[in-house]
Amino acid sequence: MSEFFHSVTLDRDKCLGCTNCIKRCPTSAIRVQEGKAKILSERCIDCGECIRVCPHHAKIAVCETLDILERYEYTVALPAPSLYAQFNNLEGPGTVVEGLKLLGFDDVFEVAQAAELISDATRKLINSGKAPMPMISCACPTISRLIRIRFPDLIEYMSPLLTPAELAGKLAREKACKETGLPPEKIGVIFITPCPAKAASINMPIGLDKSNIDASIPIKEVYPRLVGLMHRAEDTCDISDSGRAGVRWGSSGGEAHALLSDLYLAADGIENCIKVLNDLEDEKLNYIKFVELNACPGGCVGGVLQVENPFLAKTKIKSLIRYMPPYRNVLHTQEIPDDFRWTYKLEYLPVMQLDTDMEKAFQKMDEIERLIKKFPGLDCGSCGSPSCRSLAEDIVRGYSTEEACVFVLRDEVHQIADSLSRISGIQLGRKKAAEAEDKED
């Protein structure tokens, strides 16, 4: 496996090199070179913004399909809470749970259940006063990856607890082993994912040696089949094991709400999250206890692998939870179990740094400032880099050349044209002089 695994990839055949995507990438990870987009692997955080904006559908999320069920003797589906928000007039999550079984899964373990346990553990951790405040949620893997490459100071504030999906994967496998007597590897634990970031974090978890989940299938892949099956499951709506608190995690604010404290902040949308992270880094939000950040607009309901309009999905979650019990899962111990925690702390990856040697980095920065003056500052993107500054940086890093800028190129062409006309002017002069001489003779 390469050092960075990503779900978001380019379909080269579909890419026209139009540069629509390069400016929307929050980590400036996309370049267009030789007419095709290219993702700089070490910078990509699998946020899916480029999938959202590509008019040619050339950016795709690599996940599994339902065929993967064949690979295991026994399978357990892990539905993300936001899956429940995709359907009209849903009486309760139980209908979806039953639908997934009709689809071919042997069992279902709701991520919302694990979410309630994580909320309980987080509450205990905050109340213990032992964790650094404000605590930053790590439920959105895009945010964790962003912090890892851009906000080293904030790593220590990240929640030490697993994401609900990871905890659900662990508990689901334990339950399945017990019930079937099968060895763990014969059991397929499959996450129904709203986004490529969660898919990528299964193949390359940060904080664990190996994910507790075996594969992920996009919500939009299971949705059409599930809709067809759900009417057969209608009478089974009270079999859900989750409550209001867990299901709310599917939309922005739900995770923070479950902490039963008002000293929280919940932001959604990647640009908004970056603003909050900057403020946290500058210690402007010290009085807050918990920070929930969702890279997608509206939270997970806004993930790029969803079907329903995120704002409508938000409303659907609200009406779905109205008659549900507040919660159904609590931690029975005061101590937080060790296996609720990440094995490792995140480690800073300084991929934005110009050079590991600071003196060299200074030289490069000087060179960047010198180069920038040559460019028009229009950030037009024709060069294939997202801005004039990033072109300058790319040149210094050896990825591009000054002539990639159409304005520099135009000036050079003008200069050449000027010299050419000057040369031909000189030649013309010489010719005339020679003719005059001839006449005099």
């Binding site: 500058d282 300084p350 980095a361």
Partner: protein, 138 residues
């Protein structure tokens, strides 16, 4: 290298642009994060003061691998009693400014606290100049 920033005097929502830019550049240069944090907090407080108490001003940041040297100069009203202004909690901020969440009187004390060298000169009716240095210990 030397960086210049103009702080506009009429828009407090733009205060923070200079400290934000310097922070990004210091990360690219590979400064340790605690050095970046000190510089960024001290500079942000300075920017806010220039916007709220003066009519904006100019910032010069001289950065090298050994230290960050910041000069914040404005041609605002000046500070009559610097000793008093440096005290924790002393502020002349108006009610309106306080409602915006500023005016706790902690800006100057924090600037001094987060930097390794701190000097302030001011003349009433002429302006204020703050010089700060943060050493890079790495």
């Amino acid at each position: 290298m030397t960086l210049h920033y103009i702080v506009p005097g009429d828009d407090f929502t733009r205060a923070g642009e200079a400290s934000g830019d310097l922070k990004r550049k210091m990360k690219k240069l590979g400064f340790p994060s605690d050095v970046i944090r000190k510089v960024s907090i001290a500079l942000y407080e300075g920017e806010i003061n220039m916007v709220i108490h003066a009519y904006g001003g100019e910032i010069t940041a001289e950065i090298s691998s050994s230290e960050i040297d910041l000069t914040l100069a404005d041609t605002g009203p000046g500070i009559p009693d610097i000793e008093k202004a440096m005290q924790d909690g002393y502020s002349t901020a108006t009610e309106q400014v306080r409602n915006l969440g500023f005016g706790a009187g902690m800006g100057l004390p924090n600037m001094k606290k987060y930097t390794d060298e701190f000097q302030i000169e001011s003349e009433v009716g002429v302006g204020t100049t703050v010089r700060m240095k943060v050493y890079n210990h790495s």
